[in-house]
Symmetry: C2
Subunit: 374 residues, 2 copies
């Protein structure tokens, strides 16, 4: 048993979740958002898999460099760059044949000046999030000829995770009001959570990120959606303590006579938030189902200590690893424990550099190299 923690990505589940959204948005192109290394799941692997196994032909990244890194795996797909056009990366738009989502008039001017490729750029428009995007006055200042250049008009919802928020119909109205200004462009408003707001929000293109990776954004599909990310940590050693013992930094955890602990190889250096302690639990997988055990003391950089006193000896005897993420504890569940959201949990684990990474596809366990080829 290796000392390294393991990050498992279930690619069959990603494909399954993608197809769920295709069925839920039957009149829209379902594009895949693979920014931030596909929320930590490996952008190249996810892009290639969805391209080849699910016929996905439209991808969104945040930065041009992310687009270039997936281009060879999705040769005939559109790749949109959400942060907009960066003059310093003009060459990437040429070599990667990338489409910028122009975020402001300054970016548009740079794009027109440099003309890195012949694609019709996309434009981001402001409807209420107040992040990236042209304001209504900035849009109406564009000439009609300029507006007709854009192939896609995109905006982003602020409160799509609250289905009854008045912000949703208000942003929808503003977005619809722009349609006549871009008569020959496609429109895109919904990300994963927007898909659940109904077909009025779907327009031509929906941008599926979180949902693909198992984050719950679609209440009526929650039972069908599959978990994608699993994280396990090997158990290095076990100890039996007495009431004179304390555990971890700050001696936060006070043992009792008979307390048993296990030390696992994972820590905040692997993206497990320190806020996992003191309320977090890990899961043991056994022949008779799952059983959980609470964390003991603070998360350290490389280790996590677990109170295994209530885990039966028969389980401990053969236990080699514990699960931080699994079907019993998804990124959303861990987000709730760590006072954040599943998106940040996925991203933080995904950035870890010390994992053994395993991808399952058609029931096989593969490495990234197996999938991407040489």
């Amino acid at each position: 048993m290796s000392i390294h923690p393991i990050l498992r990505i279930d690619l069959d589940a990603v494909i399954y979740n993608y197809k769920l959204l295709v069925r839920a948005c039957p009149d829209s192109v379902v594009s895949a958002v693979v920014k931030d290394d596909a929320y930590g799941c490996n952008a190249q692997v996810i892009a290639k898999t969805l391209y080849e196994q699910a016929n996905c032909r439209s991808f969104f990244v945040a930065y041009a460099s992310e687009g270039v890194s997936i281009r060879s795996f999705v040769p005939n797909a559109d790749i949109y760059v959400l942060q907009g056009f960066d003059a310093e990366e003009s060459h990437a738009y040429t070599s990667g044949n990338l489409t910028p989502v122009i975020a402001c008039p300054e970016q548009l001017k740079m794009w027109n000046d440099l003309k890195p490729n012949d694609l019709r750029p996309a434009i981001q428009v402001e409807t209420g999030l107040n992040r990236l995007g042209f304001s209504l006055p900035q849009i109406t200042e564009l000439s009609e000829k300029e507006r007709l250049k854009f192939g896609l008009v995109l905006s982003h919802l602020a409160c799509a995770d609250e289905s009854d928020s008045p912000f949703n119909p208000s942003q929808l109205l503003r977005f619809n009001n722009l349609k006549h200004l871009f008569p020959n462009a496609r429109f895109s408003l919904a990300a994963s959570d927007g898909c659940a707001l109904g077909s009025a929000y779907h327009f031509d293109v929906v941008r599926a990120g979180a949902f693909l990776y198992g984050i719950h954004t679609f209440p009526s599909l929650k039972k069908e959606q599959k978990n994608v990310i699993s994280v396990s940590a090997p158990l290095v050693l076990f100890k039996k303590l007495t009431q004179s013992d304390y555990v971890g930094y700050g001696a936060d955890f006070h043992a009792k006579d008979g307390t048993k602990i296990a030390v696992a190889s994972i820590g905040y250096g692997d993206g497990l938030f320190r806020s996992f302690s003191p309320k977090g639990c890990v899961w043991f997988q056994t022949d008779h189902g799952w059983i959980f055990a609470p964390v003991a003391g603070r998360v350290s950089m490389d280790n996590l200590i677990i109170d295994v006193t209530l885990i039966p000896e028969s389980v401990l005897k053969t236990a080699k690893e514990v699960f931080l993420l699994c079907d019993k504890q998804t990124v959303d569940d861990l987000g709730a424990v760590c006072q954040t959201i599943g998106y940040e949990i996925a991203s933080a684990f995904g950035h870890g550099t010390r994992y053994r990474r395993v991808y399952s596809l058609k029931g096989c366990c593969l490495s990234a190299e197996d999938i991407l080829g040489s």
Copy 2:
């Protein structure tokens, strides 16, 4: 101006901080802890720099793979592997000439069985942290011959950041009580914060990690210690809002008439914790000094929105970037805002994959490739 955020590592400051500790621990070897990619600062760059510029000859990593990755840059140094011996990585101990810090009797048996190199292994002993390490009964069960094999005896303090904690003298006592059992080994108890507890805690080897990277662990050296990590984010656009506007996800931030915001290219996908909001601030560097502005609304994956209403127009006109980490806001300060510690802040930013990384050495701005060569 590029759209990418920038992570700057001041190598001159790392060298300076290292030398401060050398002076503070005059009778000990000051080793450098470069696990977790040197707390996000780049283990290869840090190891090479300290080896060549500060004559550091002893390094600690968590995993054997981390040791192998630095070996060629520190050819004549000791490299200790803190997680202990992993039979599956036996080859790494051979090729990297690594010294395991054996954490439990099972690991010792594997080491003896496989004998990957001729180095004297280190042993970790339990003195109260209850994490990795041999218990006293496990130590006394070892034969004298077995004990004489170890070249270094190591333990770790639980409460070294609290100088008046009774745990410190208690762990010190237990550690000293082991000296007669390992008469020909060197001893190491203190990490960065332990160095501040006085010479009784220094023993033969101190393990300097956090302090090197600018994390405050040594109260009497706080003023002298230099900041190492800076993070800045480019400003993509500015907007003027009215009281009908809201900002960001959940529409958490309600604008007033005249509110001005700026959108920066950095988010939790770059390791900026979501818990930075709602209390966080960013810093503008101007010809007349530093000025700060508060975050507006939630941190998103790729962007941060800032309330710049109180920033003078003369500053905004030329402002290209804001600082998340700088001399005015260190990793410790940001840790306090995000309800964690500087260690986790450094590690999280350091894992980001979308930064331009700049290293300053002898006043020059260099890339990792410049420093490491080809």
